[in-house]
Subunit: 333 residues, 2 copies
Amino acid sequence: MTMSGSGTAEVTLGEASEREALKRIFPRLPASSATIVGPGDDAAVLSAPDARYVVTTDMMVHGPDFRWAWSTPYDLGWKAAATNLSDIAAMGAVPTALVVAIAAPSSTPVSDLESLADGLRDGCAALAPGCGVVGGDLSVSDTFTIAVTAFGDLAGREPVLRSGARAGDVVAVSGPLGAAATGLRLLFARAVDSAGEPDRARFEEVLREHPELVGAQLRPAPPIGDGPRAADAGATAMLDLSDGLALDARRVAEASGVGIDLDPSALGDDVEVALTGGEDHSLLATFPAGTALPGGFRAIGAVVSGAGLSVGGRPFDERGGWDPYVGWDGHGG
Amino acid sequence: MTMSGSGTAEVTLGEASEREALKRIFPRLPASSATIVGPGDDAAVLSAPDARYVVTTDMMVHGPDFRWAWSTPYDLGWKAAATNLSDIAAMGAVPTALVVAIAAPSSTPVSDLESLADGLRDGCAALAPGCGVVGGDLSVSDTFTIAVTAFGDLAGREPVLRSGARAGDVVAVSGPLGAAATGLRLLFARAVDSAGEPDRARFEEVLREHPELVGAQLRPAPPIGDGPRAADAGATAMLDLSDGLALDARRVAEASGVGIDLDPSALGDDVEVALTGGEDHSLLATFPAGTALPGGFRAIGAVVSGAGLSVGGRPFDERGGWDPYVGWDGHGG
């Protein structure tokens, strides 16, 4: 037993059996409306009403992807759900279910995993009602790691790929541009101790001053419902902005064999961070000219013939975005 | 660049971009016959011909689940596929696809991930032809971790649950009992240095002497095709033996509200290891009395009224099996 700050004894994963730990975690997880056979067997069985299903997976690792000094277990659960839900939405699908594999140090209090489950549940409820957790796995590791695989239902829609943009289309985005990166920049600049290590006390101060920017980084709320809405409105291409607008817009341009020109006046006060900041998980889509843009989409540019990305007509070749092998030095908590 | 044993320069993940690394890995991965939209978009789209799909996930962590001194990257890829495929088979389904998330130290040679992809490919080809990798994620971590999520097609069958065993049924198994645990016991006893740490040179010696037992542990070949065969033959309950026969048979008994009596004369020379050894990934199923047992299934006992597990009529209460929080001390490579 370890003693928590409040003086109550906390059972750790090393003390509980896997079965006991799961017994505490499972009741907190959200149910999926697609469940035919739920957790407890070797595998789950889900419904796929239109005989297709959409699948994506994403892993978050302590250090490069989150720090306990900045993220609570609840935040991590929420973000792990949100980032996967947005990949499902970006295909034009409605998220239906998640499976969640966690590897945690044996010193982890079981209550941390309960909080993580609460974050998964509340993230699903807020962003994709009806989506739930249908299975999982719990392992021990020196490095806290969570892998989420998410599923979605196209409900008869054609999937919206990256490759369908055509010259003349409008480029539009739903959700913030650069907010998550600005939040992260604040954390690295101010929520650290004198050695540059993440620090909880300084974090609390930054959070009080900039709750929205810090929240955009730690507990993103991507516009999941706008994915299916975009598909219904005739979106020709779509993706979720995980690696920054510049890098992700280039991916659409390359996959579609077109160019993309963004309007700098539509990119907010800090055009640089809007272009290069990652992890917003906003939806970038292209629509035929004249389309009434659905939901929260706003026009930010146009698809043009040619190749590559330009901003206000000038080529934009900065790399921008986030590469896990370039951005992480292997240290820091 | 680091120099490998053979003197050639090896590019590590820290030197390659994620995109370059994926470009080398992806062509080696097996294709899935269920693919509608494959890798390269935000998510994959798969076919579910009978409007249902089966899902399971499992994570393997360096240390508790494998050691590089004993497993090659190829072995790890194979085993990560095999253990997930057997969970799909245990529902009576045919495995169709995998998604694979990997977190690896930045010092990992990209060629190691190519070998891992080869293991995934060959494991799928040998155990579940037509099953392929439809997506993935690559992250950096101090602890090598692989999370696989597998999908399956019931092709109109009812899923076989743990809860359907009825008194009078035959208990049968397809695949080895205790071989993987015997292999692991050999490795811990003899493939270690004087400090008890896994040692590659000693491992090679053990492998030469006991290729089948070591292979059962490091590169298991569960009878995937026997899962759907059991369902077709009318299996009333089924699971994959991941945690040992005793522990897993008790799970079937508990879920079904029955007892299970195993015949010790059907459990091989070492009854203890057959009962308590984990990780065989053999299939345990119950069939109505008089069923012609399909594929590799052989009778090993009977479902009885009552509760719990007995062997030769005597209660067997030993725990047996593997719990990740009990079996791993957090050290050793």
